[in-house]
Amino acid sequence: MSQPIISVKDLHIWYNDFHAIKGISIDYLPNTINAIIGPSGCGKSTFVRTLNRIHEEVPGARAQGSIMYMGKNILSSEVDPVDLRRQIGMVFQKPNPFPSMSIFENTVIGLKLQGEKNKSKLMEVAETCLKKAALWDEVKDKLNKPGTSLSGGQQQRLCIARSLAVNPPVLLMDEPTSALDPIATGKIEELMTELKKEYTVIIVTHNMQQAARIADYTSFFILGELIEHGLSSDIFTNPKQKTTEDYITGRFG
C-alpha cells in the first residue's frame, strides 16, 4: 500500500466557541477520489476548507491537530498558506470565475500570479488545462469572451481548469456539482475519474449516488465527527455502523 499524500490526525476546528470538527483522523492515498458525505452542518465543508487553510478567512476560526502533507504539518505557522494553496487547489460550490477576466485569463491567472509571463507558454497551459477539464472544444473559438458568459456547468469546468493550471497534486472540491444540472454534473464526474490519474481528489458531496459512482473512498461525517471511513464499495453496500446505514438508506432523521 502506498504512502498517504495527506494524513489528518486528531483534527479539531472551532469557530469562536463552536466546536465544528471534533477529532477527525483520515489518511488520503495518492491518485484516489475521496468523498465526504453527511447531513448539512456536519462540518464537511469546514473540514475540506482546512486542508488548504482557506478556513482562516472566516474570522474566529482556528484549528488544532495535525494535517501532514509532504512531511510537514500544514497547520504550523512555518507553512505559508499562499504556497500551500498552490499545491492543494480548490473548486468551490458555486462556479466563481473572475467576472472581469476572459476565459483565457481565468484559466491562466494562477500561473500569472506565480510570475509566468511567456505568452506562448500561457497559451499552451490554457489549452492543456481546458482540454483536461473537457471544455476546450466548447470554448476554443471564444477564449477572449468573459468567463461569466459561459453556462453554469461550463463555468464550473473553467474553474476546474483554473485550478489545474498551477498543477496542484491535490484538488479539493466543495460540492462542485450542487449548482449544476444532471448533464453538467455527469460531465464533471467523468472529468474527475479522468483527473485521478494525475491528482488526488477530495470531494464534499450531498449526493450519495455521486459518491458511490466516483469515489474510491468515502467518509461519513455527523456533527463534526467521523462515523465511518472506508472503501466506497464497503460503505455503500455493507456499512459497519448502524448510523451510516440509516443515512445512506434515507432513514436518517
Binding site: V82, R86, G89, N96, P97, F98, I109, L113
Partner: protein, 331 residues
Amino acid sequence: MENVVNHSSNTKPTPSSSPSGGPKGGFFSLKNQDKLHLTAIKSLAVFVIGLLITLLILLLKQAWPAVTEFGVEFITSDWWNPVEDQFGGLSFIVGTVLTSIIAIIIAAPVSIGVALLMTEVLPERAGKTIGLFVEMIAAIPSIVFGLWGLFYLAPFVRETLTPIIKSTLGFIPFFNGPSFGIGVLTASLILAIMIIPTITSLCREVFRSVPTLQREAALGLGSTRWEMIRLAVIKPSFSGIMGGIVLGLGRALGETMAVAMVIGNQPEIPKSIFSSAATMASVIANEYAEADSDLHVSALCLVGILLFGVTLIANAIARLIVWNYNRKQQG
C-alpha cells in the same frame, strides 16, 4: 363541505381580495390603484425634469445679454473687469477644473485605500468605527472647512508644504512661484478632504458587494492578500470606483464657500500651483451682491450655466471611460 364555504366566500366582491377590483367604478379598486400609482410617479418624474428645464431657461434668460455681448469670447478670454464691463470667464473655468482635478488626484487614492482598509484588512468592528469617522467629515459644513483652511491649512501650506514641493518638483515652472498660503493648492487640499468621505463611502459599498466566493477563488489559487485584493476586489469594482470618483468630482466642481475662502479670488489663470485664482462657484459667491451693472449680473449667470455645463461634461467623460472599459471587458 368546507371547500364549498371557502369558495363562496372568495367570490364575494370584497375590494381587497377580488382580482376583478371590487365594485365596478370604485375609485380605489385594485386596477385603479395601479393606475393611480403610475400616474403619481409619472407626474413626479415630469415635475423634476420640468424643474430642471425651467431653471435652465430662467438662468439663460438672465444670462442672455452677456451671451449676445461676448459670444464665444466669454469662454476664450480671461479678461474679467467689472469696472469696464468686460467679462471673460476662462480663468474661472481653469480654476474650477484645475482645483477639482488636483483634489481628485489627492482624494481618489486615499479614499480607495481607506475603503480597502475598512473592508479587506481591518476586522469588521474596527472598519465600521473608521467608517463612522470618515462619514463625520462629510457632516462638517463647508464654511467650517473654509475657516479651518484659512487659519490652519493656509499657514501650513505656506510654511511647510511649499518648501517641500519647491525642493522636489520646483524644476517644473508650474510647481514654482511665490506662495502666500492661499491659492490653488490650499483650495485643492480642502476640496480633497471634503470629497474623501463621498468617494470612500461609495468604494466601501462597492468593495463590500464583491462576493466572498470571488475572494476565496483568488486565495484558493495561491494569491497573496494584496494579489487577492487586486484581482477579486479592485478589478471587478472599476465602474463602481469611477462612480465614486465622479460623485466626488461633482462635489468638488460645485463647492463654493470653502474654496472662496482659501483660493484668493483673483480672476486670473493661475501661473503655478501656489497662485491665487478663482473658480466659477467662488466668483459668483463673491460678486453677485456687488454686481452693479446688469451686464455683470448677466455674466455671473452665464458663469453659472458654464459651471453646469462643465459638470455635465465631466460626468459624460466618466461615463465614456466606464463604457469603454466595460466594452473592452466584453472582448
